[in-house]
Amino acid sequence: MRPVSYSRVSDVATAIATVAADPTSAYLAGGTTKIDMLRIYAEPSQRLVDINSLPIDHIEVQPDGAVRIGGLARMNDVALAPVVVDRFPMLSEALLLGASAQLRNMASMGGNMLQRVRCSYFRDAEASCNKRAPGTGCSALAGVNRGHAVLGTSPHCIATHPSDAAVALVALDAMIHVQNSGGHHAIAIDDFFLLPGDTPEREHPLNHGDLITAIEVPALPAARNSLYLKVRDRESYEFALASAACALTVTDGVVAEVRLALGGVATKPWRARRAEQVLRGAPATRETFARAAAAEMADAVPQPMNAFKIELAQRTMIRALETLTARGEAP
């Protein structure tokens, strides 16, 4: 492992000042990805600033029904928080399906938003990769790309965004709260994740030293009837081949409200706006669901090994919508 220096800070201002002052430094939260990345030389940080003692790990219910999740709240604590389980089951499920218990106990919510892609070429320090080493090319295009994205890709990068929790949060229109030496600001989550385009190395509109202090999930009554459906080869410890975070309200057989986002198939947590548009106000039938799913995947770009994801993503959406429709009808 490359030699790194390590220090621990106990307040937010010192943390930000310490990291902002040194371009080779990085925050260390749960470390469940960062340390791996350092060990495989896919991450250049030379100085780790441990922020685990910062007091930003609370889960708070706001007066308006929103939930504010501290950037250092652990995945497991969020997944099991009664308010999350009751009001945002899709988020609880996404977190529980997102990692093993050991990882969930360590990994932070802020870190989850910033986790790096699992593309094996990105993680191979010696392979060509535009995300890790801009301009070197994308090895995945001609490589093993079964797990790669079909939505939001560019000729420069097809790596799939790996987060489950972020998919639920995108469906829920969460806000990412960021602090830096200049103060606070908040970013709508859909703007927080960038498409690779010509700059796949840039994944977020964050500057060096910016710290995620909280994730705010606005109140959404429809989210009580929500789920996260994750399709993968094995039951646990695997990233999604396709997943759907979905909230649905059906009134008199018609879709009154819907939120739908996809994981496992796109370069960012993918809000299925086209599908939502087809669904809203339409009869809650399998035919509508299929039409909505097809609309969402219409512009998908398959790679040699992952064309099946286009079909799988549609079936995943349909299954999620059907399941929620049936639940909503249940007495």
């Binding site: 492992m1 030699p3 320090a125 410890y237 695997e238």
Partner: protein, 743 residues
Amino acid sequence: MTTAIGRPLDRVDGHAKVTGAGRYSAEIALPGLAHAVLVTSRIPSGRVELIDTYDAERAEGVLAVLHHLNLPKGGSVPPLLPSLFGAAASGQTFFPMQDEVIHYAGQHLAMVVAETLDQAEHAARLVRITYQETASITTVEQGRDRAYEAEKIFAGFIPGRIARGDVAAALDRAPVTVENSYYCAANHHNPIECSATTAVWEGDRLTLYDATQGPNATLHTVAELLNVMPSHIRVVTNYVGGSFGCKAMIWDHPALAALAARAVHRPVRLALSREQMFSSVGHREEQEQRLTLGADRDGRLTAIRHHKLSPTSHFDDWAEPSLGVASQIYACPNYEGVYNLIKANTMTPTFTRCPGEASGMFVMETAMDELAEKLDLDPLELRLRNYAETEPMTGHPWSSKGLRDCYRRGAELARWSERDPRPGTRRDGNWLLGWGMASSGYPVTPPGNPQRARARIFADGSAVVQSSFSDIGTGAATAMTQVAADGLGVPLERMRIQYGDSDLPNTAAAVGSAGAGMVSAAVHIAATALRDQLIAQAVADEHSPLHGADPRQVVVSDGRMALRDRPATGETYAELLQRAFMADAEALGTWNPPGMDTPYGTMTFGAQFAQVAVDPDLGLCRVRQLIGVFDPGRVLNRKTAHSQLMGGMLWGMSHALLEGTIMGPDGRWANASLGEYLVPVNADAPDVLIETIETTDTVVNPLGVKGVGEVGMVGTAAAIANAVWHATGRRHHKLPITIESLL
């Protein structure tokens, strides 16, 4: 007297393992220990044009950077010989860092030795290699045009072509035929413990702490590779964290560890990384098989034509013997089996749990299911109609065979008779349900050399039995404690087994499901020899209550010798030894195994049944139940034997649904990690029901142990694939059966 054998005794090494007290080969703490890290080839074919070690040599803590230009040349590479022979057992006839030629990606090109592991890993990243790459072949698809029929495979023991009768004529005449091509992805072993060796020189004597299935295999192989006298090498294997075949043969890293230790004049630990495990210790080769079955209208097989095509290394003609059990499981007068090979830029493939049996029987048992469907016959009935009463290839009688009972009992447990044969007719919500079955078989192969153990009893009546074998996690040490206790007639708590050390009496490697049979033979012979020696001493001792008795009438139980029909007359071993002022007594036991030409077919048989649930919309297949009934001869420990069989069946499930190493277009394994090479997690594990039919076998070894290490995996994949057909109506000829193939 048998009291301990068969009992579900807890593992004797369990406490040390779960508490961390047990030291594995990469955990041996030694003063002055240095760490070696390997630098491997990025390309599958070509040469090292330049190796730049400037920065690496100057990095903090670095003691040496060794490569083809400065590594001391040693002895010679021994031939490829299975470690069951007890001799040198090189995994491939190639030793790296001798010249600049690159034969496969992951080939070991350099070795960095440093004070700490982190320093060695960092310096290894600083070694810069300039390559001159040449065209490569790494897959069946790329090399199909260059395939050749092997003269021999498997270290020369199996001919490349085996034929009996007239297959072409029989197929012409057959009213019913089934013909298909099948594909199995490459597999890697992935034990939790990665291979590791810690090497220590004391003058010209070498001690290796090595994660190996055979301490003596390591000893003999390293002796030849380094040209060191075997008498000067000791190999210690305290604990092994799983192997599944990747520690069955001896690869280059133990010898490299010894060379590194010699270069820096310090003890050196060389532990492979998980990624390096994918290109350092062999693999199950990617393979294509083509199988044609011919049958009469009653379903009796008249012809089997079974061809295999797979890549091997540039050095060795290796193929796992996929045709073996598949050629022995059913009676059939006409047979043709051919191994075709492709010289490829991979290392030599190797034994991987059920080497050949798992892949070959997936093919045979899937084809039998299709034949049953074609004939409108129950799949189990078809198998019974083709039951091999004698070994089909030789006509020899079986040493024992309980397969009919396995079928019967398995069918009862699976309620097979209630199964509606029509596919795609049962549903549970979104899930389609199906049942499938398959036969299992794994050969019983004797070791190639005598097996030895030493039994020693002390004057207080406690005893130790010593034998060099390695317990790779199977529970062998526990089972051997039971065998030793029964053989000598002492209670389990007074018996200790000492093992995992080449200085102890010689055994072959624990491979091929042969360990329990061969080591129990030596342990049993040693323990009973000591018992008989002590009984002889007692009946000759005029101070013994047993004086003058017929030794054949003396039995021993709980450390006490007594007359069979007058148990009150007798004395303990301790009393006998103490009276004679003997601190201890010992005996050596040697088992001379039957030759390979023993006129019997020898095999562990079984029957497997699987229930699967398939969600055809989402392409998911989840196994709900596995049932296996096996005839392993005598069971030494019911708990560890069942664990072995269960582990095998779960791996069979994994073989069917998850495992596959993918060769990338760059000629490198693309998923060389536990995150991407999929093995089942606990949540994937179904209810597994296992029973054994205990058969008496007087041929294979003294205790009649046929073995349980691998047979559990044979047939599972076919039972699952057949159940998937029963659930969905679709046949699968490619492993693993993935989501995309189920959509």
